[in-house]
């Protein structure tokens, strides 16, 4: 079979990505971030439960700017992944499966996620 004439355009920088494609790739990126985020959270849980001393040390560590930034980053990834995940579950129930519904869903995910991430930032600081 001759395949030479098939148009090939895999230069990703040339694509114009629709909004649902962007929310989808963000879902994947935040998922990969959370693979490592879980490690940080487990370490924090370990420190928080080991003893009064390690608990106090963790609390004072969380006063630092870098620590707050890391916590906010993990929370941001978690909240985005959670909101985008809810959209998936809704679509599994047959809600918003049309082209228009998919675009509305992507907008809702972005708006809700941004609001929650900003709220998380306020909460952390």
């Amino acid at each position: 079979m001759k395949r030479d004439n098939r148009p090939v355009n895999l230069d990703l920088t040339q694509f114009s990505f629709p909004l649902p494609a962007i929310t989808s790739i963000l879902h994947r990126i935040t998922g990969v971030i959370l693979l490592f985020g879980v490690g940080f959270l487990l370490w924090g849980l370990d420190q928080s439960l080991e003893s009064q001393q390690s608990f106090d040390a963790l609390i004072s560590l969380l006063d630092g700017f870098l620590a707050k930034l890391i916590v906010w980053g993990i929370l941001a990834a978690l909240l985005y992944h959670l909101v985008a995940g809810f959209k998936h579950l809704f679509m599994d129930l047959g809600i918003g499966e049309t082209l228009e519904g998919g675009q509305t869903g992507a907008k809702v995910v972005l708006v809700v996620a941004v609001v929650l991430i900003l709220a998380a930032g306020v909460w952390v600081w």
Binding site: R28, V32, L35, V38, D46, L49, Q52, L82, G85, W123
Partner: protein, 115 residues
């Protein structure tokens, strides 16, 4: 058709169901932890320790951790088969993910039961 050998379940539908079930468990657990932290205000060591001494909280946490294992495996399998083309590199990445997730589970048991 390619017969997938490294996915979580026996087939794609099983992976799909595992992904959804564990997602629901993780969503409930996340809301439980965030809700507890917001509602309790300033957390003390005694209160926090008491919470994680409850058997159901420990079991719920372990359930969440096992859900992370399955959920992340399905997710990272999907992502790695999409983007990592060389079979050896993909295998090593999946091996790394599997080992890391296994370590999380063992570490989590140690933390939760104070071993």
């Amino acid at each position: 058709m390619v017969n997938p050998a490294t996915n979580y379940g026996k087939n794609g539908v099983q992976d799909w169901i595992v992904q959804r079930l564990t997602a629901v468990i993780l969503a409930i657990y996340t809301l439980f932890i965030i809700g507890t932290l917001i509602l309790s205000g300033d957390v003390t060591y005694a209160g926090w320790k008491a919470l994680f001494s409850l058997t159901w909280v420990r079991v719920f946490s372990l359930m969440a951790l096992l859900s992370v294992l399955a959920h992340a495996w399905v997710g990272l399998w999907t992502v790695s088969t999409d983007y990592i083309k060389p079979p050896m590199v993909r295998f090593l990445f999946q091996l790394f993910c599997g080992v890391l997730l296994f370590v999380y589970v063992v570490w989590g048991v140690e933390v939760l039961w104070g071993l």
